[in-house]
């Protein structure tokens, strides 16, 4: 009986001992928040690496989690527009609404690429603020880490030195790792690739790889047979070294094109949890580079 009471009391003492309850929209920001928050933060990640970040549903469990969050950490740039506004308004939690201190967008600290000059839905699923898959540029991770640690410190001033200390430690390890990855990835420079969707643009730009085609005819439009046939033809003039897709994407188009063009088909983890080795942000980058290097051999 006593143990039951203890259990009930323990269950009732939410949000636990952690000072900051963090709701992360995507695994990369969940991983970063955990790096910075250590045991002072309890992080809930709303999505997995196997889920298309453009098409998430405002599930009841997400609304329940947002209700108790002190800080929502999302990408912004309209990536979560299909579900997050609903989760926020239904959460009944005033601290995490747009514009409040408990709402953090990575895009506000990052440098964006592929910002369209004009937007029209005829161009497919374009994002007016630029390409939102910004976490595959290590400099962006560093920028976001800085802003996020500052935000966590503002919300939980008591533990500010803890967060900043962890952030400095993370930055040090991250800069070292970035320098190492840049050395290792030298052979990738100029590597021509066919990608599924423009979700790898930051990675390509950072390591100097070239995109010679996308499996999607337009952003967000699923690959069609006609477009794939056309792409196959264009590879005669501008050959690629590999077909690359992210773990959450439909394998069929990439595998078909790779088979027809006799190219390796590479699956990148895309975000934390997308492969066995991508257990954290470091693992994500290491595994992505290792898989791409496989194509150059």
């Amino acid at each position: 009986m006593r143990s039951i009471i203890a259990l009930v009391l323990a269950a009732a003492s939410w949000p636990g001992l952690a000072a900051l309850n963090i709701f992360a929209c995507t695994p990369e920001w969940g991983a970063l928040a955990q790096e910075l928050g250590g045991d002072k933060a309890s992080v809930y990640t709303a999505t997995t690496a196997l889920q298309d970040p453009h098409h998430i549903e405002a599930r009841p469990s997400l609304i329940a989690r947002a209700r108790r969050a002190d800080l929502v950490v999302c990408t912004g740039a309209e990536l979560e527009i299909g579900w997050l506004p609903l989760v926020l308004t239904q959460s009944g939690n005033p601290n995490i609404q747009f514009g409040e201190r408990g709402y953090f967008e990575a895009a506000s600290a990052a440098r964006m690429i592929e910002v369209p000059q004009r937007v029209d839905r005829a161009m497919g699923d374009v994002h007016p603020a630029g390409n939102p898959h910004l976490h595959l540029d290590p400099l962006n991770i560093s920028r976001v880490a800085k802003a996020l640690a500052a935000r966590m410190s503002l919300l939980d001033a008591q533990d500010a030195t803890y967060y900043i200390g962890r952030e400095l430690d993370f930055q040090k390890r991250w800069h070292e790792a970035t320098a190492r990855w840049e050395r290792e990835a030298k052979p990738l420079q100029g590597l021509p690739l066919v990608v599924h969707h423009r979700d790898l643009s930051y990675l390509l730009a950072w390591l100097g790889m070239r995109e010679v085609g996308t499996l999607e005819p337009k952003p967000g439009v699923p690959p069609s047979a006609a477009h794939l046939a056309e792409l196959l033809g264009s590879l005669q003039q501008t050959p690629a070294k590999a077909v690359v897709r992210s773990a959450y994407q439909d394998p069929r188009a990439a595998d078909w094109l790779a088979g027809q063009a006799r190219l390796p088909s590479i699956v990148l983890p895309f975000t934390v949890g997308g492969s066995e080795r991508a257990k954290d942000l470091f693992g994500l980058y290491e595994d992505s580079i290792a898989r791409l290097l496989g194509a150059t051999k």
Partner: protein
Amino acid sequence: MVRKWICVTALAVAVPQAHAQDAEAQKLREELRQMQQRVDALEQRPRQTGENAFNPSISLILQGTAARSSQDPAAYRIDGFAPSGGEVAPAPRSFSLGESELIISANIDPYFRGQLTAALTPENEVEVEEAFFQTLGLGKGFTLKGGRFLSGIGYQNEIHQHAWDFQDAPLPYKAFLGGRLNDDGVQLRWLAPTDLFLEFGAELGRGRAFPSADSSRNGAGAWSLFAHAGGDLGVSTAWRTGLSYLQVKPEDRAFEDSDSLGNPVSQSFSGTSKLWIADFVLKWAPNGNATITNFKLQGEYFRRDESGSLTYDDGTALNGAYASRQSGWYLQGVYQFMPRWRAGLRYDRLDHGTVDNAIVTGGLGPSAADFGPLMTAYNPSRSTVMLDWSPSEFSRLRLQLASDKSRADVTDNQVLLQYIFSLGAHGAHTF
């Protein structure tokens, strides 16, 4: 601003004073100060300038159908049930424009959000489907809504028509709510602070439409309570279930009919109408990734108890006690078998139940045959299949076939093609 200074002061104090590594602490403090400035600068950076920077988000839904049916939709009725007066008939024959919906929404200030959903009907009228404010900053999980809004009872009631998986509403919605409930009133919701989604809500309304009848009394003509629970079963499945109760006190809820000889009669009900709804929805997708394949199963059960008095007027008005207990349910499944393509199956059924009409049983004159809709002991049912293709998330084309037995002794076979296009701001869809 004051809060900001308190934060900064707190940060400064939080740094351990008498620490061996004083230089390190100093460095941290400086770093923190710079970050503070950085965050402030980012927050203050204007994103957009000009007069339209604060324009609300606008989206527009265009819909239309081309339909064939073996029975005339204009003469549609649901036998065995009091007519709801709502727009419940199947799509008109031939080409027909559906309701074009204009949705305008924005945060009003840090405390409120506002939304208008106007339906431009094919009859060239404008209908206000929703026009409400909603609080943002009440806190503790509370949200207050006021104005005209889709009621939180049941599951499908709160979903906009363009997001339905079939072109029309399930039979229980047609028979018990006139298609849907969107009363004028207030709604208070509370979300429990638990990992399991637990939500409770209460509504007070005017009772401006079926199952109520608009009256000019002071106070609320309708009230309802609902509770929803939901969560995940592993990473692939999400569910939500709910129980709702709606009570109204209609006065002179009338409809025109004809007696067994074809003479016009007016019937009206006054009394209490209580409606219970139990609902569930289950969504499955491999690894929770709905883009390639996914499955959705949804069902609701309705039960209505009405008691009061009935007036039967064929020139001379008769009055007698009236009580009924009726029910209905539907179950539907929609499967996306490949990207862009979905197929769905729905079965709905109404149970006439028991109706106690003292005008008939007391032998006041009219027989059961004179009360067409109320006394026909008939259980309507319908089977529907649909196939839809969505080139993008902003467009959808649908083929729907139905075998509708809403009318006793006749089967209405319906075929329709429907388009749904959404323009403008990307609206978020409810679960």
